[in-house]
Symmetry: C2
Subunit: 190 residues, 2 copies
């Protein structure tokens, strides 16, 4: 006997029914909202190292990715590397870019707002006096990051800015980077 | 006529002579220490988007990478994606892992400390009550990140911990992530 079944409704490529189901499931079973994300990293030589992203936990389960993802890092020649991959501070900008974009897309979908296209650019300032320990007043990390989003959506201007603010309002990487995260480091002999 | 020429001295795969030359050059011409790193990002659909890392500025020049690097992002099925790439918060851990490692390797080289091998693992906690806007007391980003470094080097224990602290002491991503960075976001119509 056929039962009524709601097909997944895709908006912005997001299964809105799945998103609503996730929200309801978290309300019923709060523990499924707890996730642990992981990478392991191995140094190759000099500025070259590589991370593997294989598993995570969430929804009260240990989960594995469809395949392990390999992420590389190097430095350009001017920073004494071989320029075989993006460098760590460029990877940080990608983390921010991808998270702001996905957060915007998911939360727009949840509000029924269709987005047609998003492009964005990111630029951050670093003064090597910090990293090279030449001036204690200059920080080692980014002094500031500027972001420009270009969004195509059939909405009035105020709605366009509302869409852009969904990114910064909900992005885990934006929150982590702007408000800071406690990081504890242990070391042992290999 | 032959002139005396010092060959680059490699330690930990780092051209130590190049590192010392960079430090001396920054002392003479402070403006060469100012770098701008950039990525541009394009949304594909749903949780899929892609960054391109093509150029940066530093050493008073506009510089381009040997080739543009493409960095991808997706989400696993449990987070409504297709699991085709690491997700944004995993990329953030890679940025941290790669930067701590490279900072450790460079600063150990500058101190004449040889490192033979480095492996590290990273794990961070996220509670989706934040991202899903179900509890305003729970942050959207990482609540905390734990790092374990395993280092092989022919040094006594106190020196091993000194090596590990070179990472957190000098890493631009560690500083950015633990102390926070101001991020300004503008949006316009595409």
């Amino acid at each position: 006997m056929a039962t009524a079944q709601k097909l997944p409704t895709l908006l912005n490529g997001v299964a809105v029914d799945g998103l609503c189901a996730t929200i309801e499931a978290v309300k019923t079973t709060p523990s499924i909202a707890k996730f642990k994300f992981r990478v392991s990293n191995r140094w190759e030589t000099g500025s070259r190292n590589r991370s593997t992203v294989a598993s995570f936990s969430g929804a009260n389960q240990e989960l594995t990715h469809a395949k392990p993802f390999r992420l590389e890092a190097d430095e350009p020649a001017v920073l004494l590397g071989n320029d075989l991959a993006a460098n760590p501070v460029e990877h940080l900008l990608h983390a921010l870019a991808s998270c702001l974009t996905t957060s915007m897309v998911y939360h727009a979908a949840a509000r029924g707002i269709r987005i047609d296209e998003i492009e964005s650019s990111f630029e951050g300032d670093i003064d090597l006096h910090g990293f090279l320990n030449l001036d204690p007043r200059i920080r080692k990390g980014y002094q500031g990051i500027r972001v420009l989003f270009k969004i195509r959506a059939d909405v009035p201007d105020d709605r366009l800015h509302e869409i852009a603010q969904l990114g910064s309002g909900f992005s885990p990487v934006f929150d982590s980077l702007t408000n800071g995260v406690p990081v504890s480091i242990a070391a042992e002999r290999l």
